[in-house]
Symmetry: C2
């Protein structure tokens, strides 16, 4: 069966200075075009290690997509290693060099001689143009694999994957389209959910059903393979229909979109506007919202109130309420939500105030105590979550999930 592997190249990856995010993007694209991915490998620039990993991948897979090691600096060795495996010399490609020169010149940037290295390719390889950077890629046959070598800079890799790799993949005779569908669940533990849906989580099921846990949210992944993309999507939908009744109120959202995007769409559809007031999440909710295209139609702005003074001053939280209940309290959360909405003229106000730790916990309000407020048209409700103290980052992330849950669970007719 036709299958792919992904190879991420760079000392900065294998020694941990940088996280490999390219492979995840590539696997999603290849699989949605019908080519299953079996393995990723991350390896450094050391020529011997790189040659071994590249040869291994090209022996096992039909298509190998490699990223990284095409830069102008001398520590980048991917070209040399691929040429060695092909058994061909590197050759200077004048047309590719002209593309590099033009790219730099048109941006009024100098054209360092060292960039000439980026126009070297194994003899016989096909040069892959890079419209958004200086590193062209190449495509070459090694062992049983068609090897595509792309730059490691994510935005360059993405454009070149679309331009050069996906058309090839879509035309493969053995390609079996897959479709994915996600159900997002908040509430149960992984084991409890697993028992509830155990009948679905069996080997060799198609669609396959798997679960992934992150900061209080469980994602149920449904992945189907079929003769056509439409048939695979229909199979996913049928499995989702069977799962839905088992999930009940745990089910928060559906589909591949991330929660902030769903929340923005929900607000836009309801014609609602939102203001936020964040204490322990410190702007994470606002930052995720403002990453969504089209958010300006619904998001009026936010406050990061990291001190009692700013809760009082900016949001008009009553000093007596703050003194009586403390900054982390449902009363203050409600006042923050109302204050944020009022100050920015939004119909909804959403607030988060809590103790993310490591310090600041008390017997009454241990680390992980987080209060939320949601104000709608002047009336506010508030609630408290006791998040397990699994670290500051976990508590902040779990609180952010609760913010999305609050927005996604708004009654449709507010």
């Amino acid at each position: 069966m036709t299958a792919a592997e992904i190879l991420a190249i760079g000392d900065e990856l294998v020694h941990g200075a940088l996280l490999d995010t390219n492979s995840r993007y590539i696997t999603r694209e290849l699989e949605s075009h019908g080519l299953p991915v079996r393995r990723f490998t991350v390896v450094g620039d050391d020529p011997q290690q790189l040659a071994a990993a590249m040869a291994d991948a090209c022996r096992r897979a039909d298509v190998v997509v490699a990223t990284g090691g095409l830069g102008p600096t001398l520590d980048d060795r991917t070209r040399e290693v691929a040429a060695e495996l092909v058994g061909a010399p590197l050759q200077f490609d004048a047309a590719a060099w002209e593309m590099v020169r033009q790219y730099l010149s048109s941006r009024r940037r100098p054209v360092p001689e060292s960039n000439r290295r980026q126009a070297l390719f194994p003899l016989g390889a096909t040069v892959l143009s890079n419209p958004v950077g200086t590193a062209p890629g190449f495509r070459v046959r090694i062992d049983r694999a068609e090897l595509f070598v792309l730059p490691g800079v994510p935005r360059e890799m993405r454009v070149m994957l679309q331009d050069h790799v996906l058309p090839f993949v879509a035309a493969l005779p053995g390609a079996r389209p897959t479709a994915q569908y996600y159900l997002r669940v908040v509430g149960p533990s992984e084991a409890l959910l697993g028992e509830r849906i155990a009948a679905f989580m069996v080997a060799d099921r198609n669609p396959a059903v798997g679960v992934t846990v992150s900061a209080g949210m469980i994602t149920i992944r449904i992945v189907a393979t079929a003769a056509t993309a439409a048939a695979a999507a229909a199979m996913c939908a049928a499995t989702a229909d069977e799962l839905r009744p088992l999930l009940g109120e745990w089910l928060l959202a559906e589909g591949l979109a991330e929660l902030p995007e769903l929340a923005v769409r929900r607000l836009a559809a309801a014609g609602l506007t939102l203001a936020t007031a964040e204490s322990c999440t410190g702007g994470l909710v606002a930052a995720a919202l403002t990453d969504v295209a089209g958010v300006s139609a619904v998001f009026r702005g936010g406050f990061v109130t990291y001190s009692d003074a700013s809760k009082l001053g900016e949001l008009g939280v009553d000093a007596a309420v703050l003194a009586d209940h403390g900054a982390v309290s449902e009363a203050v959360a409600a006042a923050m939500a109302t204050g944020a909405a009022n100050r920015l003229g939004a119909r909804l106000g959403l607030s988060v105030t809590g103790i993310a730790g490591p310090d600041g916990g008390t017997p009454d309000k241990p680390v992980g105590t987080v209060c939320f407020g949601l104000a709608a048209d002047g009336r506010a409700r508030s609630w408290t979550l006791r998040i397990p103290d699994l670290g500051r980052d976990f508590i902040r992330q779990r609180a952010v999930v609760e913010a999305w849950a609050a927005l996604l669970r708004l009654p449709t007719s507010t």
Copy 2:
């Protein structure tokens, strides 16, 4: 030479639902304890694929750290696959089951029968206790490797790596301690910087020198190997001393700490307090600041001003200034910075207002135009950056880097 590989297991990883962040953490820890990492592999839960990847790693490396596939659900198959490679049956471990039960009971959570799977281990394996979750790990010899199998949940993996793996690694006879040191550079292109420091970026140099680019910042990584950790650190320092004069004003910061942490330390050392006002970065600066422990001593709070009305109302930006210059202008940036500092009683105000795209650009102010303001004790200065339009995310991230640069380049005696 003794070397390690890392194996990350899970359909959610190889099919792209989740990003593997564990391997990066593990490589840093193993290498700082003297064990070089040669390769990471990411593979799914399919038993055949997993067995092949696990066998490959155990044939090449002396130590293999595997994460994932130890959950209670039936899609997790790491135990079964390891047992098959060992050639031993799975055996129920009553003591491990008691640990799982106690962990759940002490948190007043139900004890589902499906969790019993988590107490199954290959006969002859050493059980590795998990003090922070329900999935114990195990250690077993396969081929030339000592294989450590840990859960995939990051916080559980981290504790168990510290408890069970690193003591083993530190005692290895062939362990060669390494040290790392980073120089953070803002200004030149990668090629230009590469030419300047080309003499350092040669194969087999010790310390090795490499560069990594992300959103306008270049990190120069210096990695030394020596007989002792102290000797390796001294070698890094010596190379940094040689590089520094070549970098001049490009050099923004040094050391392994991330920029937000360095910015907070800098403010704390100078006794300064800060307020932020963010438009196109939408809370990213505040969110990163509030992720730093001890930030409450310096950070007074922030505003996410996503509409003109909020710039006027909350920050007291003059309506005439806004009308004359537009929201993305140095005049408004200066007024936002001053307003944020005044409103929250902070000595410094930092503002970001720009066009992150994809819409909103004009011939005069194309997408990527971002204005910054920095107010100190009532006086404000402002400046503009023309960030290449490499996507909304790139523009936002580059703007955030500029915010750290502004804070880190404050004169020491403000």
